[in-house]
């Protein structure tokens, strides 16, 4: 058996997918369900592109990360800042 023949047989096997006869009906049931109705409002550009958008960095995520970074920074260097404020207030 040639390698190419095996490979072709395997590919053909993987192409041979049976589609359930009721699949389209099940999809249409979900589409016709109330929540499946398209909204009358035009979607915002962000919402419209969301489905094709591979980025996971949206504004809430970025804001949360910034907050965490600031908190960690403050905890890490808080004593230094406090010392500087103390030195400043005492006119050292």
């Amino acid at each position: 058996m040639k390698r190419k023949e095996i490979y072709t047989a395997w590919k053909n096997r993987r192409k041979d997918v049976e589609v359930d006869a009721g699949f389209a009906d099940r999809v249409m049931q979900r589409v016709l369900a109330p929540q499946g109705q398209p909204s009358g409002d035009a979607p915002s550009p962000r919402r419209a592109n969301h489905i094709l958008d591979r980025r996971t960095w949206d504004i809430p995520t970025m804001a949360a990360l910034l907050l965490v970074s600031l908190t960690v920074g403050l905890l890490r260097y808080g004593s230094v800042i406090a010392l500087l404020i103390l030195m400043g207030s005492t006119g050292y």
Binding site: K2, Y7, V17, A24, R30, A48
Partner: protein, 180 residues
């Protein structure tokens, strides 16, 4: 193609039943794609349904000037499948058994072992190689379309395809008998 655009126009103007034409036309390529990426049969069905539902809900955003409807649909499917694969826990890892089909006499002749090993090799490919491989080799999609679905350059498609094939070639080495 014209009836497809007409169906989309009708759906957008409120004739929801017109969406059935799109489902019936693309259920098979979608199931081949999803079926070759995901191992679990129930998950395949769920994801395939979700893809059509997402397409229906976002149909206003589809631009026929930018891509074919099928390409757009496969892009949604690709993203959903990759997310599903990433969510899957390692212990759930299972062989990517072929989607529903009957075994042919040719399968028997070739040998279960080799085909099973190829199935396993496909299941073990990283998602970024697997999606490109399935689109190119199983679904015979052109490089341009794959690049659009993956959001990468043509050269990257060729590179990923080459790496995926290299991994599968190793599996076939012991079975090579004078052919290439």
């Amino acid at each position: 193609m014209t009836d497809e655009i007409e169906a989309i126009r009708r759906v957008l103007s409120g004739d929801v039943d017109a969406f059935r034409l799109l489902v019936v036309r693309y259920e098979r390529p979608l199931m081949v794609f999803v079926g070759n990426l995901l191992a679990d049969a129930h998950q395949r069905e769920d994801i395939a349904q979700d893809v059509f539902l997402a397409a229906f809900r976002q149909l206003e955003t589809f631009d026929p000037k930018r891509s074919r409807f099928c390409t757009w649909l496969l892009t949604i499917a690709r993203n959903k499948c990759v997310n599903a694969i990433k969510r899957k826990t390692p212990e759930f890892h299972e062989d990517l058994a072929p989607p529903a089909r009957t075994r042919t006499p040719y399968d028997e002749a070739v040998g279960n072992e080799c085909l099973a090993r190829l199935d396993r090799a496909l299941s073990e490919l990283p998602p970024r190689l697997k999606t490109v491989f399935v689109l190119a080799e199983i679904m015979d999609r052109p490089v341009e379309e794959i690049a659009q679905i993956e959001g990468i350059k043509h050269s990257s498609v060729r590179s990923r395809l080459s790496r995926a094939k290299k991994r599968l070639r190793v599996i076939l080495e012991p079975y090579a008998q004078g052919g290439s």
